[in-house]
């Protein structure tokens, strides 16, 4: 089992990267959840994989496709309906300057 300390610094850093502002209460909640997640995943460490780095279990390589005429997707509006806020076709998000 891996010893991982989910302390305040880790929570701070993760929320920063995720661009989320967390309350003290939420921080505590995430701390507990993170620890539980890591605990669950520690099971993976028990698998014997040997020395070789193993990223893919299938041996298939080179799945490539030929470039050709673009095929427009015919339900673009279904995607656009998922945008929270729209203006002149753009998605509107918070400004950053």
């Amino acid at each position: 089992m891996v010893e991982t300390i989910i302390d305040d610094n880790v929570i701070e850093r993760v929320s920063e990267i995720a661009r989320l502002k967390l309350s003290e209460k939420e921080k505590e909640k995430f701390r507990e959840e993170f620890e539980r997640i890591l605990e669950e995943f520690s099971v993976v460490d028990e698998i014997k994989v040997g020395e070789k780095e193993l990223y893919y279990v299938i041996e298939n390589v080179n799945v490539l496709r030929k470039d050709s005429e673009p095929k427009p997707f015919n339900k673009i509006n279904d995607i656009k309906n998922n945008f929270n806020k729209k203006e002149d076709g753009f998605i509107v998000v918070p400004r950053n300057l």
Partner: protein, 466 residues
């Protein structure tokens, strides 16, 4: 020696670039949407894959994008890695990237060289969408356009050379036909260190001019910090295109924060030697081979050849003009005056109006003693700008050199009559007086007096006064 290298010698300046160029394809890298993100209304060339709708999976990598990337690498003399490479997920949260990770491959080729600058590695990745920071507007049309990232060694020693390097690199890629036409504006991350100080990274510079300006600014800023007794700490800065200055980026992600993992939706890719051979067989002559050939075939000096091959359009142009004129002369004019004028006008021979015939005709006029070297420079400028043929430019500008002895003697006599003191000075042994009088003749003829003949006649005439 690189352009203006001397100016920065004391600074021990080291510049490295990470250059992003869009690879030319019809479809995006992982889906069948069009890559034309410019001529289409916002959020119109999108699908569940490139906008990362829940449950969507990428299609196999667009083969053409990969082939174009291989062309770039092999052209710069890179070697492909023998091990298969895989596509990774680089995680970060930003509005231009709906999946919250960018797919970016491991290095595919490396260890190349272009214009004396090492190419460390080249890999493929997907472009994110466009995010207008000020307005808070996002257009995802660009999401998934294939990109090549070219990482150079810190071999560049002046901002001027960085500019020249980028300009010529872009021209070469355009010549190879592997990048999107409108992507002339490159995106680069610029790394710079001075006096052995820490490396500063400037992110997202969007033009060749921007790279030059950002570097100039950073040199001044870092010098000032050091002069005040401060230290340069490693940091990432943002370049503001409007004010042309760099600013500290407050939030900084480290490699660990990106949580790179191999994308489980895509299988590894192996580049076989046969594939490399196939690509190599359709590549134009490499700059390295061209250099060797030009030096041998045309007996040109290394400096001239370097200038010619840094722009492949120019090297073709030179070869064409050398068919009908003295190659040494043609090489010299193409590598110096022509290149200077093109740079000044931000043009290439492919976009300007000048043709190889202009150069060969011009050399003919010089060799026949009808055009002075000084005026030939003006002819080149006009030919670049207007494309008018040399004979009519000669007429229009009245550039025909005066080599008739009678005409020259008339002018010399007039100049001597107007400047009796200089004539006296020469007689009493002042050599400078000869140059003065020669200058007067040149002025009198608007630069058209044939120099060697004028000097000879002037000397004879002055001796006769004795």
């Amino acid at each position: 020696m690189q352009l203006h290298e001397d100016k920065y010698k004391d600074l021990n300046l080291k510049i490295g670039l990470e250059i992003h160029v869009q690879l030319k394809t019809e479809q995006k890298i992982f889906c069948e949407c069009s890559t034309d993100y410019i001529n289409s209304s916002p959020n119109n060339n999108i699908c569940p894959i490139c906008t990362s709708q829940p449950g969507s999976k990428p299609m196999g990598v667009n083969e053409k994008a990969l082939e174009n990337l291989l062309k770039i690498g092999l052209f710069f003399g890179c070697k492909a890695y023998e091990k298969p490479f895989y596509v990774q997920r680089k995680h970060y949260f930003y509005p231009d990237l709906p999946s919250n990770y960018q797919r970016t491959s491991q290095p595919i080729l490396g260890d190349g060289n272009f214009m004396g600058v090492g190419i460390w590695e080249i890999h493929i990745e997907e472009d994110p969408g466009r995010y207008e920071l000020r307005e808070g507007k996002v257009d995802l049309n660009r999401c998934g356009v294939p990109l090549a990232e070219i990482v150079t060694a810190p071999d560049i020693k002046s901002p001027e050379y960085a500019r020249e390097f980028l300009r010529d690199l872009l021209l070469s890629l355009e010549y190879l036909g592997v990048i999107r036409g409108e992507s002339g504006s490159i995106r680069a991350d610029v790394n710079i260190s001075i006096m052995g100080g820490n490396r500063i990274e400037i992110k997202n510079v969007n033009s060749v001019k921007g790279v030059y300006k950002a570097l100039k600014y950073e040199i001044v800023r870092q010098k000032a910090v050091l002069q005040r007794g401060g230290t340069i700490t490693m940091e990432t800065r943002h370049f503001d295109e409007g004010s042309m200055i760099t600013k500290t980026l407050r939030k900084k992600e480290t490699v660990a924060d990106y949580r790179y993992i191999p994308d489980p939706d895509l299988v590894p890719i192996y580049i076989s030697p046969e594939k490399l051979q196939e690509i190599e067989s359709v590549l134009p002559e490499s700059p390295h081979n061209k250099k060797k050939r030009f030096m041998k075939e045309y007996s040109l000096g290394e400096e001239i050849v370097d200038a010619l091959i840094s722009d492949l359009y120019l090297s073709d142009f030179f070869e064409e003009s050398a068919k009908k004129s003295n190659p040494i002369e043609s090489g010299k004019w193409c590598a110096t005056e022509l290149k200077r004028r093109l740079n000044e006008k931000n043009l290439s021979v492919s976009t300007s109006k000048i043709t190889p015939k202009h150069i060969s005709d011009m050399i003919g006029f010089i060799e026949r003693g009808e055009l002075s070297v000084k005026n030939a420079k003006w002819i080149i400028e006009d030919a670049v700008d207007t494309g008018e043929d040399i004979t009519s430019l000669m007429d229009k500008k009245n550039f025909y050199q005066i080599s008739s002895e009678d005409t020259l003697l008339d002018i010399i006599e007039k100049v001597m009559g107007d400047n009796p003191k200089a004539v006296e000075d020469y007689k009493s042994g002042n050599e400078n007086a000869l140059h003065f009088l020669f200058g007067k003749v040149v002025n009198e003829t608007e630069g058209r007096a044939e120099p060697s003949k004028t000097i000879k006649l002037l000397k004879d005439k002055l001796c006769m006064v004795n």
